[in-house]
Subunit: 726 residues, 2 copies
């Protein structure tokens, strides 16, 4: 089924810009047929257009063919709107005739239940092999503003209404031409959604906000081409700089990771709404990590890792799209704010703190420059409050500090109630727009339409409140052009950890690997584990304990007992031969399951108390192995503070996670966090183990890892879960 990605991209390119189109199901009596024909014409499609009507009745004055085969020439794109039951037949015909692609508008497939699912399977089968690539069924088609091809019956695409809503008239006051509309609506933003309603409503609302679009696509039920295919195409599309995607789920999460990485490489911003964010819950996981690293967290970790902007509603999507499509890429997250209103400056500062936007102090030269411009009582620190109507336009104040090397993003807070007010700021805004830094503007009054038009013309994005503006700044920061710091995870390739895992496979009856085996692998990989050995009988336990010295722990080792402490198969703080002997007896008799394979008892040196941390690996999200770090040891699910990151990650990235967990607060006198470096190194090393073991490993829990007062780390318990074979 999996087609070559280059072929898929080419097929989509051909479908979006066809030289020959056939409308199958054209009919004088169908409003959808009329709407599609009007859209093709109105947006300036100039290629061949064939109509197929099974009765051969003329449509819109044009002759029709009874069957596709009657066209007698090549067809790049079939637009299919016959009743559902007839669609598989049409697609089979397309396959015979070598039609490149088909948009299936018809509904009545998987979305209507079991019977429809059967029909959809037939449809997929009909195209398999040399058949056309499909968008749909149950799709609303697409709009390609780069080439002027509208293949949709969506009322949002309807030309006259669109032109009227945008206030576009023709050059001599006549009807607007395709060029008139396309000039205004074309831009670098692409939208893709499974739901056509959503895709086209985002398009319309984006136009109203001043965005321009390259392509708008709905994938419908995705019997063939899916979200991932379209994303892959759009990321490579030279006409697209920002992609807005509404995502319900991914069939192949790793492919999304590759697409996201490629997007960042090309400077294309991905803005994704991942819906269905309810907690994972359903998954039956043996380890804490498995429980904690739900799908939602995995998606977010991947988004964070690859600079994908994650949005929670349509407004956030448009807010981000606007900021990213009108602005150059930001270099970072440090913003300057100049405000005409003191109250709104305070509000904005709060909003920036919430959104992770830094209001860095101005350089002394910048401060001096604006002090000279403003009344003595104005605030000349960031945020700059120009205090009502100063003698100088606020945008000039912003321009005066724009070159400050400590600033990445420029924000103006003003009122757009009067065009005259904006005209005063206009020259400075024009200069700022030509500069290398992104600009955002937020108004605390409902904007006057003239002001909105002026700012659209200037290409400056406007936000109706401070929090949305701060959030848009965060979207700029998320896709910032930071070059990846060299921060490699340890290279464990020479250690043959895979061999150790193969041994586990051979030795185990189940999927759960007991602590003593995991401990050996961890030591092999250089991870510090509490000293100890496996004892087969009480005598051996006594001698191991004597060798270790001091109090020891005894723990039953069996693949069938994943949670030893829960069933009383663990004894802690045992000291002296007699005590070790009786603990051995207690631990080995704790589980009375007939046929339970017991490997022995792990005798381990007790580790001084410290902060209990969990370090784990989860590999069920489909994105590849993810590393989890959390606070609380056995209580991690109550404490609820965990961080997730795709593996591998270097020590510097790991340290960032530890800071986010606020572990830096353990040592307020150590701002560089040197005390946390051993733990960061351990996390990075575990991520390298995860990469080495790959998909063979489903879950790994090091829990607790004891973090000592001086930063020393020791793994005190460990559990691995292997993926089911095959």
């Amino acid at each position: 089924m999996a087609a070559d990605p280059v072929e898929t991209r080419n097929a989509l390119a051909r479908a979006l810009s066809p030289r020959s189109v056939a409308l199958v199901g054209a009919s004088e009596r169908s409003s959808a047929s009329a709407a599609v024909l009007a859209a093709l014409r109105d947006y300036g499609y100039t290629g061949e257009l064939h109509l197929v009507n099974r009765r051969g009745e003329p449509v819109g004055g044009q002759v029709t063919h009874r069957r596709l085969a009657d066209i007698g020439g090549p067809v790049d794109l079939a637009l299919v709107m016959v009743p559902a039951a007839g669609v598989p037949g049409v697609i089979a015909e397309c396959a015979q005739l070598g039609v490149g692609a088909a948009v299936v508008f018809s509904s009545g497939f998987a979305e209507v239940g079991a019977q429809g699912r059967v029909l959809q399977a037939e449809l997929a089968a009909a195209r398999r092999g040399s058949g056309p690539r499909l968008l749909g069924p149950n799709a609303e088609g697409f709009l390609n503003l780069v080439d002027g091809v509208a293949a949709s019956f969506s009322s949002s695409v309807e030309f006259t209404r669109l032109a009227a809503d945008l206030g576009i008239s023709g050059r001599d006051g006549g009807a607007p031409t395709p060029q008139d509309v396309i000039e205004r609506a074309r831009g670098t933003v692409a939208v893709v959604a499974q739901s056509g309603g959503l895709a086209f409503s985002l398009f319309r609302r984006g136009l109203a906000r001043g965005m321009g679009f390259s392509r708008v696509l709905s994938t419908g039920n995705e019997a063939d081409l899916a979200m991932a295919d379209v994303l892959d195409y759009l990321v490579e599309d030279p006409h697209t700089r920002v992609v807005l995607a509404y995502l319900e789920g991914l069939r192949d999460p790793r492919r999304f990771v590759a697409t996201a990485a490629r997007a960042r490489e090309r400077g294309t911003a991905l803005v994704v709404a991942k819906v269905g964010r309810s907690p994972a819950g359903a998954r039956a996981a043996l380890s804490h990590t498995g429980h904690l690293a739900g799908d939602e967290a995995a998606y977010q970790a991947v988004f964070d890792r690859h600079g994908v902007v994650s949005v929670r509603d349509a407004d956030e999507m448009l807010d981000a799209g606007l900021a990213l499509s009108l602005n150059p890429r930001s270099a970072g997250n440090r913003a300057a704010i100049v405000s005409l209103s003191g109250g709104n400056a305070v509000w904005m500062a709060d909003a920036c703190a919430e959104a992770g936007i830094e209001l860095s102090p101005l350089e002394e030269t910048s401060s001096e420059r604006i002090r000279a411009m403003l009344p003595a009582f104005a605030s000349t620190t960031n945020p700059v409050d120009v205090s009502g109507e100063p003698g100088v336009p606020p945008a000039e104040v912003l321009a005066a500090i724009a070159d400050d090397p400590g600033l990445d993003i420029l924000v103006l807070i003003t009122t757009l109630a009067r065009p005259s007010r904006l005209e005063v700021d206009r020259p400075a805004l024009e200069r700022l727009r030509k500069g290398p830094k992104p600009i955002l503007l937020t108004t605390y009054t409902d904007p006057d339409p003239t002001c909105t038009a002026t700012l659209r013309e200037l290409g400056i994005p406007v936000y109706p409140n401070t929090r949305r503006c701060a959030w848009a700044a965060a979207a700029l920061a998320a896709t910032a052009t930071t070059t990846d710091v060299h921060d490699p995870a340890p290279d464990l390739r020479g250690l043959n950890l895979g061999g150790t895992l193969a041994e586990w496979r051979n030795a185990q009856t189940g999927d759960s690997v007991p602590e003593y085996r995991v401990g050996r692998l961890l030591r092999q990989a250089g991870v510090p584990v509490a000293a100890g050995s496996l004892a087969i009988d009480a005598d051996e336990a006594v001698s191991i304990a004597a060798e270790l010295g001091g109090p020891v722990a005894l723990k039953l080792q069996s693949a069938g007992v994943a949670h030893k402490a829960k069933v009383g198969a663990v004894a802690l703080g045992v000291e002296g031969a007699a005590a070790v002997r009786s603990a051995f007896a207690a631990v080995t008799s704790a589980v009375a399951a007939p046929g339970l394979a017991v490997d022995g008892v792990l005798v381990q040196r007790m580790v001084p108390t410290g902060v209990e941390v969990i370090v784990g690996v989860q590999n069920a999200s489909g994105f590849g192995p993810m590393v989890l770090v959390g606070i609380g040891g056995g209580l991690v699910e109550v404490v609820g503070r965990t961080e997730l990151h795709p593996a591998p990650l270097g020590p510097a990235a790991a340290l960032k996670l530890l800071r986010r967990l606020r572990l830096d607060r353990l040592h307020p006198d150590d701002p560089q966090c040197t005390t946390l470096l051993p733990l960061a190194a351990l996390v990075s090393r575990v991520s390298a183990i995860a990469v080495e073991l790959g998909d063979e490993l489903e879950e790994l829990d090091l829990n607790p890892v004891i973090l000592g007062r001086d930063g020393d780390v020791t793994v005190v318990d460990a559990l691995a879960v292997l993926s089911p074979p095959g």
Copy 2:
């Protein structure tokens, strides 16, 4: 300074609805003067109007007086717009003449720095005693739509422009009359902000959204009347049901608590934007609780306790105001969603989960009713997805389940792109509007103006995206008409805890009270504390240890050593006479501060390990004592999971806090949380102690409280900090 609240309310009422107004600083050459005169006239002010111009030049064709005294009759309200330096003199004149109140528009006071602050102090002094109550200086005045009095030069109030923006024309196509505008703009929402720009921009934006207003006020620099006075007035105002307030800070937080309680009693909703939400940081606190319970958390706890809706930006404020002013009060947080679009139904479900809105399952009879209305493949569980265009209008589907007793809030997701679509839903919406439950509508397309007008006429609030709609539902839920459950804290009045505190005062040199003393008070109040006694010498320590049996802890007790463990003045797990003796020596010699007053060494029975919890009291926010509960014991600041609640609180409220901390996850097999009842009782008891000790107590830390496996609780360490005397 503190005036009688009833007098203050009466003074505000008189100022807002004056029978006689004097404009001091009226001038032919001042645009502000012209704007205020026009506003008074245009909004229909019909009382006496006197103009004061120091040269006696006529203004707008009307004769003027040179001085207030020349008016020769009573003046209810003076509107003052003379230059700053002249204002104190005018106010002194007002005082002599018995003018009721003055709005000081003039700027140039505290907002311009040190010199202005001096002038503002003069102004305040000039009114003290029998002088007029002041709004301002640096205020933009007010708008009273109940009585038709506009005393403002704000351009947002400008009549012709407002009428044009609202699309209001006169009855016969002529100029609109005051009545025409007031009919459309009047409603039950009041706005108050220190910044006039903010107050009037919220008014204008609210009008555009379909809200109606009772009063709009700006308090300016608050030389006299402050936010709290205006809130107090508005809560009692029979014409106001919703108050929107932009709050920078409170001079008297307890007064706000009383106002909020009174608002809830009267069914008036308070919607508050508290700005300046940066972490407290600055406060030097001895205890963890002091550190953790910052101002922001205290505000939020008070808001939560009293049903105040807390908003973070202007849109949230308007979203909440719209939902609350157009709807009846909600009975709870359970919403039903009916959606025309599947994608948006999923999006809304996510948004509801985020906002704490419950999508409760429909009753069987409700489900049956809508199953009969919808195609077989539509989803008839909550959220109900009617799947495109069903045969029946979506609003009818919503109406069919509206009576379900499990639902408090009704939500319709639809498109407002076409008036014809809305007309189909209109009859059901009209019926729903007359019902007892609040309704919200969200559109996934930019609304057609006709649709907006129709819904304004119907009185149904519209939201432009799912998250804002869910958030508005949360505002309805926050102000729900839930009757307080009888959940009293223990009554500790008979115990004379105040006497114990007085003993502390007598005994201490500093403000920090050592553990053994706090422990005695806790036992006196019925809180379980680890067994132990104070030892004066090693012999006594040995005998106490023997009596306690098993391992003990030894801890130095001194008011000068608040953090014993940090300086090595604690020994844990000490067993046997010799060990106790040497621990006693170690602990007493740990701190070598000359003149340190040491009370002895607390010898305490070791408590088995368990979950470490902190229970504390903080009393620095100004709101009265607050109880804090958190996870993590000594690590609580790293773990960062704490909850705050004003004292007192009953065990049921305490249990809610413990659930929010997710401590219920410790016992997944105990959904009723009976295991947490002893801890909840302890928290409630501590809140009663806080009430008894009142403002004498600044901070109290019980940290850790050990929560045992079976739910047993024991306080293992404690610290109290007394308020500085006086």
